[in-house]
Subunit: 202 residues, 2 copies
Amino acid sequence: MMILRSSPPSPFGRKVVIAASLLGLSNEIEYRKADAGDAADTLRRENPVGKIPVLILEDGTALFDSRVILEYLDHRAGGGKIIPSEPSARFAALRLQALCDGVLDASLLVLYENRWRAAERHEQKWLDYQNDKINRGFAVLEATPPGIDPIPNVGQIALACLLGHRDFRFAGSWRAGNPKLVAWHDRFAAQVPAFDATKVAA
Amino acid sequence: MMILRSSPPSPFGRKVVIAASLLGLSNEIEYRKADAGDAADTLRRENPVGKIPVLILEDGTALFDSRVILEYLDHRAGGGKIIPSEPSARFAALRLQALCDGVLDASLLVLYENRWRAAERHEQKWLDYQNDKINRGFAVLEATPPGIDPIPNVGQIALACLLGHRDFRFAGSWRAGNPKLVAWHDRFAAQVPAFDATKVAA
């Protein structure tokens, strides 16, 4: 049995749960909630960077971050399923994942500004810089939304988790002006039961 | 000819230059300096997240981030060179890369605190939180330093770039108390000429 250290609101942790479901591996993974803010949690020994998700294998190896875990799960399921083997499809999927992960990183920094700093110490230039990354990412994704493979690839999984994160943390403000992505979100949710199953109530 | 958008002080950009050299691909890449802080730079069109490095392929495809670029270069060089094919070696390399990239992310956030905010608005709790990640990462790396493969893998390349970054940006403070990593750094530098060749003067 593998152990997943994560927390339901984490978009990166959600990637792992959805990937495991798509690959038929959910029954081989025990979910053990982690609190990245709690110094007493074993998380910081499992991953020195102290971030979730971490996947602990049967031999005790702790794998992180989400990209490495997704590649491992794909390998464990035989390979070539959520990370295409064919090079042009593979690098398109990896590139899309990097884009969505990058937008997520910017979005989390916006969130952390509120979590870590008093309002009078917020730095508007920094928030603008991060929000510009998010807005440019959404503009490109809305202009040319990706497809959805029969088994969605890591890029498509990451996009779904990005949209879910923006729904949960930013009241779905992305929906205005991005009708193609709204349709994409709904198609993904209809095709992948694990997406709604991992939705966190706002 | 591929085009690399990067900047010499970037540790993630340095990973790409070293990887290209190890794979014999340096002559197929034109280095075109990018300024992530300049809104007029084409970088933000090449990568909506606005981060370096970006590798632009002959067909115009812009690949990012550094991990995706390293995997692409490995593929282009025939595969299995800087990312081992054998699963246990592969995931050890990818995990090491994720650890070093994660420590780098924390280190850059410490740097950005100074770059983006007036001293009186620095948030010590946040800086402590990031520095703890860095210190835990170094403690684990010092306790069990990795090997150095005949062609160093992506994890080893990332570690070298992490150490170089801490030398450049934090006056080599990591060296005190980490003698095994100092020895590792020197072995890597002796084996990989591209490491010293990409060193930025402090």
